[in-house]
Symmetry: C2
Subunit: 414 residues, 2 copies
């Protein structure tokens, strides 16, 4: 559906959902390419995603110093601000869409790029359909981001690899630390991933290097406390130590999250227990096996550790943003940029376009055949898939021994 | 007390206490210098510190590949193994000392280097005194290590700066992440340091860069929950967000740790609550202020994050180990290597010797005049002190996108 007529107007880029180490690299790919495009007259950054459009809070990216903007490549979190606003179905309530159209018309916005995960692709898709319906010509593009790696279609998602690299690196380090004493210890590390186990599985990259987890539990398979305790006991007896990677999303067969089950742990009175899953599982092991145990939650650190980002991820994120602008200028719309990769002859990754309609709201999980039959580890297939993604180290600039992150002027329109 | 007669014999290096990112750099300084010394006939690594001596588990470092050994510079945790064994007072029970002497005689050990913190310096001192008492000529040296930075005499301790750099870097990243939404959040990050607040104070380096904590609580001053809640409320109202750095060792005026107080939080029944201090404080804020809140515990990550080590720290750690061997060969004994620094005309750090007798068992805390009068931050004096220590990035080698840590052959004597 390539439209050859050049479409001249302004562009908006917005960021949405949970941030990552490289979402700004994607946004910079959009901003830099848009600023250099002849068709795009002005580039606006929506402050806090779609909320920035609804509230008419648009930052003029043309006003930023190009050298400073370049630091977005290595700055974690969403430099334009993010939101978690769930937009209504336009058929049920079109209030927001009317307002978006009003803003698009006000600033002659003809290009809209939305940088985020599943929900953001859904927002993007709804806006695209609405604009088509009301006949307002605007090229709408999704630029993917999610450390969860659960977007449909694309080989992997920008942001996943950097989080994976941080997780594998941290496991290597924690493994060395937790096994240092003459007396053994069980260490349980909780990784993000509510519904998909990609991030937790990344700990297996550390195990490949001899310094990783002995056991890995993903939300793709049902969790049983008995099997978990028995697995830990077996490894501890054999090795004198045990390091566990567990996804925050592990759940029992009835679907209830282990982290939320009210009857686990010491407190049978239904009191809300403090601490997350790692602390709970640590407590169970301590009570059942009587060994020294420590629970660690990687928490926000795993999604914002730009100092440990993958150079491959940074490069691909930038390219995905660039590809979105190029495709939009060439006439495409209603698409998300994704990756198609070849791992047969070295690693090769190219950008392709996927229909937003197909991408939105479908979660891609770790294939069951990549999980060992006993449900406590991943196979070599996962390693082969993930290993090339984490290659290369960031070229982050340091000042006084600390990262130099971007500081935007944030000049608002009007 | 320099003894000019060259003392010929073997050397033992042991590591003890909690590991750090750079304790192996210190040990490598000892090992490399000892291997190159004409007086030192063989270099043994005690497996798990003094336990390795007591159990006759000595690794022959001469058998290791020099290229592989060099990787110790960038490998976290204690490559020789650590222990937490508290040695008895020789006047009360000299069993261990007789055994140590037996092993020293068996292998003709004339040099003993012990790499650790307060307790290790105490062990070292006791061994030194015992050997003098029984007339066994052996040069005994402490090589300092502690992320807690609480050793007496020395300007700072190897290991502190790398943990400080990791903490400041992580605060910069978490700050960006936690302030990304249009809706505010209180984020509470718990740092190590049971009795001294040096590590928590390091978060102030991030604040210097505009991405750090709004509030910092150290164990050097008494904590009150009322003041804490009021401080957080004030900042949150003013900025719409609040980021807090808190030491695990904060305590009430009666000395009881906030992390252990049974009556805090929701559970008034005295049940052991899961999760650490950050989770507890987060819960208090959630209940009292009703805002979104997240608790993060940096846990082991802060003491083993070699990928984020300070190049200054690595260099100084190596030099401290080297200086210990050189001084021992020159005839010194019963000393710890420490640092004397000049920050007036740039930063300069030189090794000096401190009497083990004076160092052992004295904890150096953050000076009270470096803490703001309201007890919720540190002053510019701390920044000036700490900033030069975290400069420079590690030259860690990567393979397949992950750190290449040392793998010792571990050839045991006999």
């Amino acid at each position: 559906m390539t439209n050859q007529k050049p479409l001249v107007g302004a562009a908006i880029i917005g960021q949405s959902g949970g941030p990552s180490s490289v979402i700004n690299a994607s946004a910079y790919g959009v901003i830099k390419t848009a600023l250099e495009s002849d068709c795009i007259t002005r580039v606006y950054g929506a402050n806090h995603g779609i909320m920035g459009v609804l509230n008419d809070r648009l930052m003029i990216m043309d006003e930023e110093d190009p050298k400073e903007l370049e630091l977005m490549l290595h700055t974690p979190s969403s430099a334009l601000g993010s939101c978690r606003y769930k937009i209504a179905d336009p058929d049920a309530d079109d209030t927001d869409y009317k307002r978006i159209l009003e803003i698009f018309q006000k600033y002659n916005v003809r290009y809209f790029f939305y940088n985020g995960g599943n929900d953001s692709m859904d927002t993007c898709n709804k806006i695209s359909r609405y604009m088509k319906k009301v006949g307002y010509e605007c090229r709408v593009f999704g630029v993917p981001k999610t450390i969860d790696n659960d977007l449909f279609g694309t080989d992997h998602c920008p942001g996943f690899a950097s989080a994976a690299k941080y997780i594998a690196t941290s496991f290597m380090e924690v493994s060395r630390d937790s096994k240092v004493y003459d007396k053994g210890m069980v260490t349980i590390v909780e990784c993000m991933g509510r519904h998909a186990g990609w991030l937790t599985a990344a700990a297996a990259l550390a195990a490949e290097k001899g310094d990783g987890p002995d056991l890995i539990y993903l939300p793709e398979v049902n969790f049983t406390m008995e099997q978990f305790v028995s697995d830990v006991e077996r490894v501890y007896k054999e090795k004198g130590n045990c390091l566990v990677a567990v996804s925050e999303g592990v759940h029992y067969a009835d679907g209830s999250f282990v982290s939320e089950a009210k009857t686990s742990g010491t407190d049978g009175f239904g009191h809300a227990q403090l601490g997350g899953l790692a602390a709970r599982l640590a407590n169970v092991i301590k009570e059942d096996l009587g060994v020294k145990v420590r629970g660690i939650e990687l928490s926000l650190l795993q999604r914002c550790a730009a100092h440990c980002a993958s150079a491959t991820d940074i490069d691909e994120s930038f390219r995905s943003g660039k590809a979105a602008v190029e495709a939009a200028v060439a006439g495409e719309t209603g698409k998300m940029v994704g990756f198609v990769c070849d791992r047969e002859n070295g690693y090769e990754c190219r950008c392709e376009l996927f229909d937003l309609e197909k991408v939105a709201n479908f979660e891609k999980k770790v294939p069951l055949e990549w999980i060992t039959p006993d449900g406590s580890n991943v196979t070599a297939d996962f390693i082969q898939y993930c290993s090339p993604l984490i290659r290369g180290e960031t070229a982050l600039r340091y000042e006084d021994g600390l990262p130099r992150f971007v500081h935007l002027k944030k000049v608002f329109a009007e």
